[in-house]
């Protein structure tokens, strides 16, 4: 039986170049992950800060034997943002498409579809596979069963489930970090950098609910889907995606590696994750076709 591979998704947050370099250096040296996504997907305004450090990060990761995927913007708007997508699509490496904008420039060459691209059924998946999709990571609201149904109908591609991290729930044209600080997006002062895991949004009754990250809204809770390997392999799901946070991501990767290798059971894995410095409580409702915030660990 083929094993389950681990993917490290792109960083959603506005991390400084130093933080990015340190983070990926550790991933390269210590994390048992075979594929690593790099690049800005949430806000094009952040790109001038991170762009200079990517070449060195990519080189470091590749020297460590990682497969590097170049992730592209989820909501491109400006000419510069659109050009960045076109440039990245010309690269020889695997590219992650997060908006239809990238489909034409990348068509005919291998790509990954990220969770921001709406792939909900086997017909859409096949359409994209014919144009080069090699790995499909469907929207986070789809259950493991639904992803499995797609995977079975599309054996030509690899299917990936978003297993760890705050869930990317929405994108907007409006920047909420700017709004809450009385600023506008066009003069945001890059204030989102203050919240490297996003800024918690609670209800009026202090229920933990959401988190904001510039134009993005995430869950406050942290997805921590810990299946037994057979749950995935029996459905044809071959990859697990871990989404970066400031907690010890090497430990997260090691925990998932032990889980997919059958060396640790889901309960033990969940316990290890719950001991880390996470920004929210553990949930996995979406994987079980329940509301995303639910912690249906016993299923």
């Amino acid at each position: 039986m083929p094993g389950i591979a681990l993917t490290l998704g792109p960083v959603f947050f506005h991390w400084s170049p130093e933080l990015l370099s340190d983070f990926y250096r550790r991933i390269a040296d210590e994390a048992p992950i075979d594929r690593v996504h790099v690049g800005e997907v949430v806000c094009g305004k952040r790109m001038p800060f991170s762009d200079p450090v990517w070449p060195e990060i990519i080189e470091r990761l590749e020297r460590a034997g990682k497969e590097v995927v170049l992730s592209t913007l989820a909501a491109p708007a400006t000419v510069r943002e659109r050009r960045s997508i076109e440039d990245l699509c010309a690269d020889e490496r695997l590219v992650e498409i997060n908006d239809v904008t990238a489909l034409r420039p990348r068509s005919g060459r291998p790509f990954v579809t990220g969770p921001f691209l709406n792939v909900y059924n086997e017909i859409s998946a096949q359409f994209l596979i014919q144009r080069g999709a090699r790995t499909i990571c469907p929207p986070v609201e789809l259950s493991l069963a639904a992803i499995g149904d797609m995977a079975r109908a599309c054996p030509e591609a690899e299917f990936e489930i978003f297993a760890f991290g705050r869930l990317p729930l929405a994108l907007s044209g409006r920047c909420y970090h700017a709004r809450i600080h009385g600023l506008h997006k066009d003069s945001c002062q890059f204030i989102c950098e203050r919240d490297p895991d996003g800024l918690a949004v609670d209800t009026l009754d202090d229920q933990q609910f959401l988190a904001i990250n510039g134009v993005q809204t995430l869950s406050n809770q942290v997805q921590a889907f810990c299946p037994v390997p057979a749950d995935l392999t029996s459905r044809g799901v071959q990859r697990i995606r871990l989404s970066p946070h400031t907690c010890d991501m090497v430990e997260v990767a090691k925990t998932y590696k032990a889980l997919v290798d059958g060396k640790e059971d889901p309960k033990a894995a969940r316990f290890v994750l719950s001991c880390l410095d996470l920004p929210g409580t553990l949930v996995e409702g979406y994987a079980h076709a329940k509301p995303g915030w639910q912690a249906t660990a016993s299923v």
Partner: protein, 332 residues
């Protein structure tokens, strides 16, 4: 494109509102089937196949078009339900199908070449490249624009594409990029993309507590009202939340869209059609709003000035707060 008269596209949640919208002057009405294939899948709304056929006859007899929204994302292993909806729309003689899912677009493009395809706002196509992809792949003739673009951006987009654009001018306002928002399923398990519903009514509760009423969605408090304060519907993105030490309407105030004052600007930006949101609205509301916008669009086409347009549209606020949304750049 700026020389042609702009088309007024109006909501028809039921056969009765379809007739009302047509009689009030709609150039086109849009509607959906009574199932999860459309993004307004609410109890008591929408059309059966027979009702649609009858509605198309009525609209065509009165010189109006019918656009059928099949704009949710087809469920895996169940795509046939969406395909059948498209087949029925085509058999009924609808003028266009509004779709977002590649599976639906592909089916219509291959099997119903005679019917126009409009790209739903749920597809969130906002760049010339994305729109070009849908136009080339499926022959999409019109794009309903995401409600996050400014007028300047719409003008630039129209210069770069050769398909028509349709812009929302009135009604509910999504602040998130539509088709890419899973807030509703996160809280309730039901979402616009999968089920055609957002913040569904069966998950809403209004709880009277000591000094206020809490409006909750699936147990999450979305807003709280003092005695005597008008109570709103707990739509997730219009809620009051705490973040960064502040309590505020973080995403958007409880406002609705009114871009009536921007009709001339949208025309100058090359927009072909103006859309009024509100398939969940009743006959009286639709009649009144469509009539007012008919007059306003006609006045703009005749070269009427801003003061005249404002006068025509005064009274279309229902006492609620309104915004021109993203059309104005400072909204961001």
């Amino acid at each position: 494109m700026t020389n042609a008269r702009m088309e007024l596209v109006c909501p028809a949640g039921t056969p009765a509102t379809l007739r009302a919208a047509v009689q009030a002057g709609a150039d086109a009405v849009y509607c959906g089937f009574r199932d999860e294939t459309n993004a307004r899948n609410f109890p008591g709304l929408n059309f059966s196949g027979e009702e649609l056929a009858e509605g198309v006859r009525f609209a065509h007899d009165h010189g109006s078009k019918v656009l059928v929204a099949i704009n949710t994302f087809a469920r895996v292993n169940d795509v046939d339900l969406w395909k059948r909806a498209a087949d029925t729309a085509a058999e009924c003689g609808a003028n266009a199908i509004i779709a977002a899912d590649i599976a639906v677009l592909d089916h219509v493009a291959k099997n119903h070449k005679q019917i126009r395809l409009h790209l739903s706002v749920q597809a969130a196509a906002a760049t010339p490249e994305a729109i070009g992809f849908y136009a080339n792949s499926f022959g999409v003739r019109r794009v309903v624009l995401p409600r996050v673009l400014s007028i300047q951006e719409i003008a630039a987009l129209n210069r770069a594409i050769d398909v028509e654009t349709e812009a929302f001018v009135f009604g509910g306002l999504c602040v998130m990029i539509e088709g890419r928002c899973y807030l509703s399923s996160y809280a309730t398990g039901k979402s616009p993309n999968l089920n055609g519903v957002c913040s569904p009514p069966e998950m809403v509760s209004y709880d009277d507590e000591a000094t206020s009423t809490a409006a909750r969605l699936s147990g999450f408090t979305i807003d709280r009202y003092e005695p005597g304060e008008p109570v709103g519907y707990p739509t997730l993105c219009k809620g009051k939340f705490k973040a960064g030490g502040k309590t505020s309407y973080l995403f958007e105030d409880p406002v609705s869209l009114n871009a009536g004052g921007m009709i001339a600007g949208l025309k100058a930006a090359g927009v072909t059609a103006l859309k009024i949101e509100g398939r969940q609205r009743g006959k009286g509301y639709v009649t009144e709003v469509v009539r007012a916008f008919r007059k306003a669009v006609d006045a703009v086409e005749e070269g009427g000035d801003a003061i005249e347009i404002d006068r025509i549209l005064a009274g279309q606020s229902e006492g609620a707060r309104q915004t021109a949304g993203a059309y104005s750049k400072k909204w961001r």
